[in-house]
Symmetry: D2
Subunit: 353 residues, 4 copies
Amino acid sequence: MWFSSDNAAPAAPAVLEALARANEGPAGSYGADPWTARATALVREIFEAPEAVVLPVVTGTAANSLALATLCPPWAAICCHEHAHVQEDECGAPIFYTGGATLWLIPGAHARIDPEALERRLAQACHAGVHNVQRGAVTVTQATELGTLYRPADLRRIADIAGAWDLPLHMDGARFANAAARLGVSPAELTWKAGVQALSLGATKNGALGVEAVVFFGEEAERRGWEFELRRKRGGHLLSKMRYASAQLAAWLEDGLWLELAARANAAADRLAEGLRASGLAQIPHPVEANMVFPTLPRAVHARLQAAGARYYPWPHEPAPDGPDDEPIGCRLVCAWNTADEDIDAFLAALRG
Amino acid sequence: MWFSSDNAAPAAPAVLEALARANEGPAGSYGADPWTARATALVREIFEAPEAVVLPVVTGTAANSLALATLCPPWAAICCHEHAHVQEDECGAPIFYTGGATLWLIPGAHARIDPEALERRLAQACHAGVHNVQRGAVTVTQATELGTLYRPADLRRIADIAGAWDLPLHMDGARFANAAARLGVSPAELTWKAGVQALSLGATKNGALGVEAVVFFGEEAERRGWEFELRRKRGGHLLSKMRYASAQLAAWLEDGLWLELAARANAAADRLAEGLRASGLAQIPHPVEANMVFPTLPRAVHARLQAAGARYYPWPHEPAPDGPDDEPIGCRLVCAWNTADEDIDAFLAALRG
Amino acid sequence: MWFSSDNAAPAAPAVLEALARANEGPAGSYGADPWTARATALVREIFEAPEAVVLPVVTGTAANSLALATLCPPWAAICCHEHAHVQEDECGAPIFYTGGATLWLIPGAHARIDPEALERRLAQACHAGVHNVQRGAVTVTQATELGTLYRPADLRRIADIAGAWDLPLHMDGARFANAAARLGVSPAELTWKAGVQALSLGATKNGALGVEAVVFFGEEAERRGWEFELRRKRGGHLLSKMRYASAQLAAWLEDGLWLELAARANAAADRLAEGLRASGLAQIPHPVEANMVFPTLPRAVHARLQAAGARYYPWPHEPAPDGPDDEPIGCRLVCAWNTADEDIDAFLAALRG
Amino acid sequence: MWFSSDNAAPAAPAVLEALARANEGPAGSYGADPWTARATALVREIFEAPEAVVLPVVTGTAANSLALATLCPPWAAICCHEHAHVQEDECGAPIFYTGGATLWLIPGAHARIDPEALERRLAQACHAGVHNVQRGAVTVTQATELGTLYRPADLRRIADIAGAWDLPLHMDGARFANAAARLGVSPAELTWKAGVQALSLGATKNGALGVEAVVFFGEEAERRGWEFELRRKRGGHLLSKMRYASAQLAAWLEDGLWLELAARANAAADRLAEGLRASGLAQIPHPVEANMVFPTLPRAVHARLQAAGARYYPWPHEPAPDGPDDEPIGCRLVCAWNTADEDIDAFLAALRG
């Protein structure tokens, strides 16, 4: 009963097998190998973007930070949701990689940036000219940190607001697959067609051992790609045996596996949410649109779950150690590509007591 | 006939198999898993250093840069050999991670730092006080970039010079295994017993898919380890599914595999060097002490080798496109854990024409 | 009728004359001169801090940023008021100088940090360990950006909260003189006796041409002072002809001139505030405790003032270009050491129409 | 008998008087004042460059570092002479401001970059693509750190070499006035007409209290100027009471004062060099072309000079404390705008014993 994170899950068998296949004989290093070429070709095809530049790294933090550093100068600000991963969980990596950019925290329900709040923030900025941090870039997380989604029109709205100030739009797609699988919309429509210029496409949480691809779209893709390559090397993120990262990526994208794995994780979250609702014990304050559920449960129920061996994190904060049995306490439950119905059902059984 | 780099080689079967074994069920993320604990225990045991802090990352550039950032403040200098990897092949990564430290380039035959030159450089430094970059740290590469070795007494001499200025000694051990296998000296004697306080222990070039461990020794290990952890996270180098890096590392260290693989690569280099010498066509200006040979060959011989499909790099520079047949041109030949005798013999046959 | 800023005012005659006196003959550079020694001695005497290290720079931004960089590592956060100068008006300089620290914005009425909000922020921080930006330092502005003051007990409260997490307390004292003059409390009681470990002591706004001194107090003063010296040099803030900065500083501190000048600016603000209140046209939402008044006035009154040639900034934002005559619009009026009663009276006359 | 540095000299009377005149009444801050406008106009006129952007700061280190940061990205290298001030005396400031650029040290006699060595260095660079620090910019010092000069043709040669790789050329003109006064060549011919795109124009060493202007020439001046403004603010180098820096600069440039002061310093160096040569006691290994002489004198002569109260630095290094009387020891003698003939003659008399 592990619902702590999708990164607690193992890799999908097809991804692991690809590693074994890639382990034959010598190969060019630093990306000069057929697996890297194949991964690039797959991303271009799937995103209908023949000009896209595709650059693998091993963590989402690296993908986001390096991409944002390519988009935003040191003296400017990146607008992100106030609970975005780049703000809350990367120990300042985007600040480090940009050379000192600022994060402007934009509110918004369900971890989605409120377009009006973004518009206001950008309009109010820089009233003192050179004395102020300048406008730099906008980043959204898809699926969001609360397991909700932006529709193409939502993204377009944000891209237009950014574009009015000539700012690029980046997407932290650590769970992009979950979004794409759920919405049934083409990857192109969820990215460059909606104004996204750079995507961190995450495979790690969804069946890989550890690989994310930064994808640059559009006219500036080549220029940004080269700058990214220099920053990636300089950040120690250029893998000598790149084939092993690329082979994962290629296997994950091949034949729609990435969407299939994501759909399984999403379905698991649906089953879990349904069970929680049916139990009459849970409040679920956010729409369940990806592979995560954030129920509020009475303290006593948490105690039962933990006693039964369920693993998950309280959310958004660790609760006080003591309190009344009926005190509502939030938590985060994350399903993965391999979350078994049995585990969900065991969790729900433990929940009901 | 691939002699271009040891990172063109695949992973050793035992390492790959360990990945498959690590792929069972859920595991704690970010290092809270049994494989990471096992890798740490193995390093501590092998290096006879129960206090050592062991921190895996995926590239040597990351290992070196993050370690050096922990040892050297932004306003100071890292003394390295003038042809060190940190200087020549990391696109300034140590400068980036330290926040702007300088590299002081120390000469020395066969890519080994000349202790007297180091001593002089440190003594002359900082004569203008606050106006000068300060003394910061010393780093050596073992085996060196020219495939030569430091003996324990060589290291102790350098550590003492560094210590006289209160500077820590770091070792870039991308090919530490090759050194340890060749010298038949204990890992402890090659590191902390000789004054090394931080080691980048490389597995990637020697049979892993991609993992290096930074090891801090001694009294400051814990403090430095925690600072390293923050820098690693901030650099995007903390893996969520750490188990896959650690499983590689553990399998590589288990039962002396790392030394066995390195010994094979070293023996291949010996066979190659012997054949080169026997051919009467090659000059070999540097001792062959690890898994690399740097012969100088006539231009016509290079043409023959390339026609036969041999892959390797000219060294230290790309030669002019044209020249006389007997023009001596240097090159680098790197053997790996899996370099086959057949490949060496085919190379030598092509060489002889 | 200039009320735009205290930095629009000229230098006090005694400060300018000191420059002329310092212009005799040769002098040691980079601070090895008698004026720098004198300035240090005066600060130590006035602050009753014989161990204090005193380091002049030419701007408040440099003073704050360099001091904070000495107190807070790159991976940590500086707690400041959400409208602090370091956050709003320094284009990210503290982020640049710290190498990427974050600013945590703490609310609080009248631009004073609310101690409970600070306590909560610090307690909630770092719940995800290495994934989070760490706690780093706390900074307060005295007088605040809204012209209000912290009493010694307010400072002690904040220092204790910081101290509970082992965080140093910095004070941006761009208008420290105004605070000290108003409160009639000793400089020691307003700084180190209340827990302040580093002070940016500003003279520029209060009668100098351009000089601020960073003062480190306490046991760590010497160590921090040397690190600051290296950072100052590296930031291009070590003046070769330091005598001219130090001579300003010494003249400003000599015989209580600094407090006298500040008292004049404070009195001017009092006179202005009184006139504003008496006019019946102004709301003054913040206590007038230093040399600034932030009245809200009807749009039509602003028009009258501007027509009469009064210079000042709307506050906190530029108003819309059009609106009803009675629309309340805020502004900032800053008095300087040389603000003339005639100017205040002329302003008030124009205000009344 | 102060020959330690031109920054040990006081300010010229006309510059000091300009400060007094600038001290009348209120003025716009941060450069929105008539003195800044006047300084800009003067630079544009004197350099025949109506498009030039002129940005004052208070130190040469700031001028150089901020200018170079605008010209060179973090992952690239700045080619400078191996004994350039940016390399030897700025504690790594250019590295700090660029965000981690490298300095490539080019040899050359008399502290002038050897064009062929520069050409070779640039040609050899980047043979390993993304693994290498990239080519970034070139900087020359005029007059050099050894008091020698580049003629326009020398500069053009270097600019052409830089231009072949699309690199901008910066000039550290801490003693540009000395060069211009000596060569009798127009400022334009010594800068933009010879290919210089950015100049650090130093006034501090030549009669100011403390001001240097960064001047950007050519088509990119405006874009670079704005980036510089952001970097300057962020570096804490934007002065609130800018009028005092600009008034110095304007007074120094007005009516050719800057050239007159420099000519005086140059003439003093000539007189000193002549006396040294006539004494038969000195070797002078470098041409005396600006305001500095670097004689080699017997140890016993140094002892006499020091006993007589002469102040200067040994060069390039502190000698051993003891040695034979006739041991030749180098030193640096710097003349300033106010170096008196009497002082030179007294120095020479002491020298002769």
